[in-house]
């Protein structure tokens, strides 16, 4: 009874927030409603008794994926007027594609054959006497280990592909060598100079050590003029 009521509450909020995700004008609001939708989906999982899936949904989608969405969307400078200007022009094309897809879906639905044994299988989600976390683990890591690992490798290839596509080695880029930084000692960069009153430091190498420039890097002429000893 109570579970039924909450099921409908969560479902309604889920659908409403999903509708707002695509209709909101502000992209940050869209992401926030997407997070709300994830939350309600997790709550539906909880009602169905799949607590592991519910929390993994929260951790992966809300805790990581949506954070990155938000990170990108917050930094975007979206020009909405420009975004809407093409709306009239692309409307016929978009409407045609949508209509074809809808017609195909309707045709599929009309000719859909449901396997007679599928409905009985669907009604026994977890083996009895075992927590659903354990049941899921046994299913994924023993029965479907090959598919699971293959999915992982596909994701890895996609990740490496994305990195290769975006990583350009710019010749002017200055990299930091952490090993060099960590092995620096005060003696390499600091010198204690004993000097008389009012005389200042004479050798320039004390305050301007020579750092080799990376190849191909053209240094801009500096704005500040020649600084004499003790001129800073």
């Amino acid at each position: 009874m109570i579970a039924d009521i909450f099921f409908y509450i969560f479902s309604v909020v889920l659908l409403l927030s999903a509708a707002i995700v695509v209709s909101a004008r502000n992209p940050v609001h869209s992401v926030l409603f997407l997070i709300l939708a994830f939350f309600n989906a997790a709550a539906l999982f909880l009602i169905a008794g799949a607590e592991f899936l519910a929390f993994v949904l929260l951790i992966v989608y809300v805790g990581a994926v949506a954070v990155l969405f938000m990170f990108v969307v917050m930094m975007l400078d979206v020009n909405f007027a420009e975004l809407r200007s093409g709306f009239q022009r692309y409307l016929p094309v978009g409407a045609t594609v949508g209509a074809i897809l809808l017609a195909e879906l309707l045709g599929l639905e009309a000719g859909w054959q449901i396997a007679p044994e599928a409905s009985t299988l669907r009604l026994s989600p977890a083996p009895s006497g075992v927590q659903n976390t354990v049941a899921l683990g046994q299913l994924i890591y023993t029965d479907y280990i090959f598919l699971f690992q293959a999915a992982g490798i596909i994701l890895l290839v996609a990740m490496i592909g994305a990195i290769v596509l975006t990583l350009r080695d710019r010749k002017t880029m200055r990299y930091q060598d952490i090993r060099v930084q960590n092995t620096r000692r005060p003696a390499d960069t600091l010198a204690l100079v004993r000097m008389g009153l009012g005389s200042g430091v004479k050798p320039e190498s004390y305050y301007r050590p020579h750092i080799p420039e990376p190849a191909g890097f053209v240094e801009e002429p500096h704005g500040h003029g020649p600084a004499g000893p003790g001129g800073h």
Binding site: V62, G63, A64, V67, P127, G129, Q131
Partner: protein, 338 residues
């Protein structure tokens, strides 16, 4: 009495009572944590610290709270008022919510759920939204920079934190927090998993935005980061949330690595909550000690530490742990499917 407790109203009253019995001491701990932090920092820096309000300055946190409540709540004109006020509430509520599953003694958790550790991990990873929403809704450059830093920081630390938790789960064989503590009956996990223990402590500092990883605040670079526009109670909620998160992460470290409510060598099992509190205080002292000792990390150093040091280290230790457990036949027994 037991008849009343069986009714729905009685159940509700019981849960509310339990929540109050946990949250009131927690808030008092948070209040005195701010006092302890100032006193310890003062001792590190050879000062006296707060010593005016009350005996030894013990009433200082309450004076501060009163001062904070008396101030005016200012909402910047360019801000999004709804989200601006929502962010501190979210931070505070999440910091309180997570305590529902923490067992401070055997069977003393409010909700002893099967996937307690996942619940904790999910709630603590949601904490970043308070920071991000605050930074975005403030409509201020400094706050925005703080929010971006926080997002990048969280994402880089949560992966290795997840591997640390998986390593502990391999040894415990359960996602239930009470079972994890009971699995440490013979030896605390901090000893066989010592590298993971260190990774967890450092990630814990990054997760709570504490020094030396307090880049989202970074008061010397971006003023106060994400809460630069906040005042009064809205600021107070961020403040309370941050300190409650410190206590929470300390409690999590206690449960995962230091045997929760169990004393060393099984000493005085009746003192469960006291042992728990002592271990939490140990971690809280580490928080303050680190703050008084280390300078703030540079941003690229922080990202490098997360992705290039902790991630390979925790992944390698996970594989080694799994190999040793399987090779020696020490895997915890799981119920077989029926």
């Amino acid at each position: 009495m037991s008849g009343f407790l069986a009714t729905p109203v009685g159940q509700l009253a019981l849960v509310v009572g339990e929540a109050l019995a946990l949250l009131v001491p927690l808030l008092i701990i948070v209040a005195f944590l701010t006092y302890a932090e100032r006193k310890i920092l003062a001792a590190i820096q050879l000062r006296k610290g707060p010593n005016v309000v009350g005996p030894f300055g013990l009433m200082q946190p309450f004076a501060d709270a009163l001062k904070m409540m008396m101030k005016e709540t200012i909402i910047p004109s360019g801000a999004n008022p709804l989200l601006f006020l929502f962010a501190p509430m979210l931070t505070f509520v999440l910091a309180m919510m997570a305590w529902a599953v923490i067992p401070v003694n055997e069977g003393w958790a409010i909700a002893n759920i099967n996937v307690g550790i996942l619940y904790l991990f999910a709630i603590s990873s949601l904490g970043v939204y308070g920071v991000m929403i605050a930074g975005w809704a403030s409509n201020s450059e400094y706050a925005f920079l703080g929010a971006l830093r926080s997002a990048a920081q969280m994402v880089s630390y949560e992966v290795s934190l997840g591997f640390v938790i998986v390593t502990v789960l391999l040894c415990a064989g359960s996602l239930n927090l009470s079972d994890i503590v009971l699995a440490q009956r013979n030896i605390w996990f901090a000893i066989p998993l010592f590298p993971m223990f260190v990774v967890f402590i450092i990630s814990m500092l990054a997760e709570t935005n504490r020094s030396p990883f307090d880049l989202p605040e970074g008061e010397s670079e971006i003023v106060a980061g994400f809460f630069v526009e906040y005042s009064s109670l809205a600021f107070g909620l961020f403040f309370l949330g941050e300190y409650a998160n410190m206590v929470l992460m300390s409690g999590m470290a206690t449960i995962l690595f230091l045997g929760g409510w169990m004393g060393p060598f099984g000493l005085w099992p009746a003192l469960g909550p006291i042992w728990f509190l002592l271990k939490v205080c140990f971690f809280l002292f580490i928080f303050v000690w680190v703050r008084g000792t280390l300078p703030r990390y540079r941003y690229d150093q922080l990202m490098r530490l997360g992705w290039k040091v902790f991630l390979p280290l925790s992944l390698a230790w996970l594989v080694i742990t799994a190999g040793v457990l399987v090779g020696a036949g020490w895997l915890p027994k799981l119920p077989a499917p029926v």
